[in-house]
Symmetry: C2
Subunit: 78 residues, 2 copies
Amino acid sequence: MKAKVHVTLKRGVLDPQGKAIAHALNSLGFDEVLEVRQGKVIELDLRETPPDQVQARLDAMCRALLANTVIEDYRIEL
Amino acid sequence: MKAKVHVTLKRGVLDPQGKAIAHALNSLGFDEVLEVRQGKVIELDLRETPPDQVQARLDAMCRALLANTVIEDYRIEL
């Protein structure tokens, strides 16, 4: 089975990479770009897991490794 | 207005970062993880643009900067 985890910086946390992208797009003539923030998507291919456990297992993976919950939010998509 | 661009490696392109994540998750006891692939999400905040032009403008941004179309696919979400 497949699952996706979206990891994004929390509001208020500086995103220098996003800023660099915004600046580069403006330089290329895309003046309509006001702000850019960059996040990650982690696509997981999982062995079949009981449906009532998948969410909890993914949550544990996020807390253990996939997201830095001090500065990042995550969202699980099944 | 907001837009999101999802950038993922094409099927068949090696993803060492994904492999490292899968290996780390397995080491942490998440044995159900078979494969991991990592992609990017770029969230853009745009000045109001005529709706018939937004898609084309974002497409141009992807081709010019956001995605390397040789090895990456992109998907625009408005």
